[in-house]
């Protein structure tokens, strides 16, 4: 098993993450990822740091000294077609070249055009979860475009039949995000990431927004009214990683590069140890806010993976997640 760890972007955070990994012998940790420059491109998450190339180079060098690979996230889902202009083309090509000179190991992209452009560079092309790879067909498309790694859509984290088919269909590495708690088949997913892509870039809306985080607020409200939606999300418990290894998926990514360093380190420990005691919501990147509202006892989810492995996801005919939620979730007083 190999883990890819989120890095908030500032150098002291990288040092602290690596210090803990080494002090505690967390040998599964082999890669980190952080956002690139918002002047070049936004990303699917808020950008809290804008590293210049020199800083990326210094951090990459430090990571390499400690046996860790460094990846840069450029997974905006909307560039406003800038990439298809001559100016945009030249800028992306220049930036990829600079990242390559900085010895970066991989670039995480969502835009198919950039997947193809990255073929010209030796860095790994890592297809983002925001390319929504959710079928063998789409996986194959991206592999043919040049992907070295596919981060598959978290919507299929519990569709074992599809995951197995993807692993069989492609030769490239298949990676899963384990602690994203987004709504299963979320109706806001595309719109939300398009909005985040613009807000985290220089390509901002022309007028102030009356609801800058509309989709997030909707998402939290839905889960408050129907906590079963939290259970149905595609998160993977640390204890269940072995089920994915059994079908040929050995690399896992933690989400959370906008979170506090110590939260990231706690998650890194739990997934490295494949074990966690307590409120499952403590592990989830989103909806982290709800960890102060609900307690989801991780122990109560022992064995649930066996149901989800063969689940047809026809919730109206099943009710398993409803019952499980009643048993596992309590409201924090």
């Amino acid at each position: 098993m190999q883990l890819m760890i989120p890095h908030p972007g500032h150098f002291p955070a990288l040092k602290e993450i690596i210090e803990v990994k080494e002090a505690e012998g967390l040998n599964e940790v082999g890669e980190v990822f952080m956002g690139g420059s918002p002047e070049v491109m936004g990303s699917g998450r808020g950008v809290l740091h804008a590293p210049l190339i020199d800083e990326i180079k210094a951090q990459t060098e430090y990571a390499h000294q400690h046996g860790i690979k460094m990846h840069i996230v450029m997974n905006s889902t909307c560039t406003g077609a800038h990439h298809l202009t001559f100016e945009g083309y030249k800028m992306f090509k220049w930036y990829f070249n600079e990242l390559n000179k900085a010895d970066v190991d991989g670039v995480i992209v969502a835009e198919p055009y950039l997947v193809e452009l990255l073929r010209e560079f030796p860095m790994k092309t890592i297809v983002s979860v925001l390319s929504y790879v959710e079928s063998p067909q789409r996986a194959k498309f991206f592999e043919e475009l040049g992907a070295d790694v596919l981060t598959v859509d978290t919507n299929i984290n519990r569709h074992f039949d599809v995951l197995k088919a993807i692993v069989k269909a492609v030769n490239c590495e298949v990676k899963l995000i384990v602690n994203e708690g987004c709504l299963y088949r979320c109706p806001f997913r595309y719109s939300h990431y398009n909005l985040a892509s613009h807000l985290s870039s220089l390509n901002q809306p022309r007028f102030p927004l009356f609801a800058p985080d509309f989709y997030y607020d909707k998402c939290i409200n839905i889960r408050l009214r129907d906590p079963t939606q939290i259970t149905k999300s595609g998160w993977i418990r640390p204890e269940d990683l072995k089920e994915y290894e059994a079908i040929g998926i050995n690399t896992f990514k933690l989400s959370g590069r906008t979170k506090a360093v110590n939260w990231i380190i706690d998650c890194m420990r739990s997934y490295s140890h494949r074990s966690f005691k307590g409120n499952l919501l403590e592990l989830l990147d989103c909806p982290q806010l709800l960890r102060d509202m609900f307690y989801m006892d991780n122990d109560k989810f022992d064995g649930a993976i066996e149901h989800w492995k063969k689940c047809r996801k026809v919730c109206g005919e099943c009710g398993y997640c409803n019952e499980l939620t009643k048993e596992a979730l309590t409201i924090i007083k």
Partner: protein
């Protein structure tokens, strides 16, 4: 409390103007979070992270005094920058819950790249 908050907004704005120049403090507030943290926060415009570096001790003293005036013990004082820039948009003094003592204030590094830690009670 209403009087203290209004006075603290004026005082903070005045003190920062004396130190730095044209600073605007549109809002100060006292907050309580679900985790158990309570705090005093001031939104501001015109301040940059260099100013915070230079006047760190003075800003700490002002924030400590103002947060105490509204009943908040200033255990952790920090500035929040506009992500990816050097513009400081909030100064906060926070009395931390047990979890945030470890998770938010417990790392050697700043918890996030947009946070500049000004004071941490160990």
């Amino acid at each position: 409390m209403k009087e203290e908050l209004g006075a603290s907004r004026r005082k903070l704005e005045g003190e920062l103007r004396n130190l730095v120049g044209n600073i605007f403090v549109p809002e100060v507030k006292v907050f309580g979070m679900a985790c158990g943290c309570v705090g005093y926060a001031a939104d501001l415009r015109g301040l940059q992270s260099d100013d915070v570096d230079v006047f760190k001790a003075k800003i700490n003293a002002i924030l400590s005094e103002l947060s105490k005036s509204v009943g908040v013990e200033p255990e952790f004082i920090y500035a929040r920058k506009l992500p990816g820039s050097e513009e400081v948009v909030t100064l906060t003094a926070r009395e931390l819950c047990e979890r945030c003592k470890r998770e938010f204030a417990g790392s050697k590094a700043s918890p996030r790249p947009d946070i500049v830690v000004l004071k941490k009670r160990r």
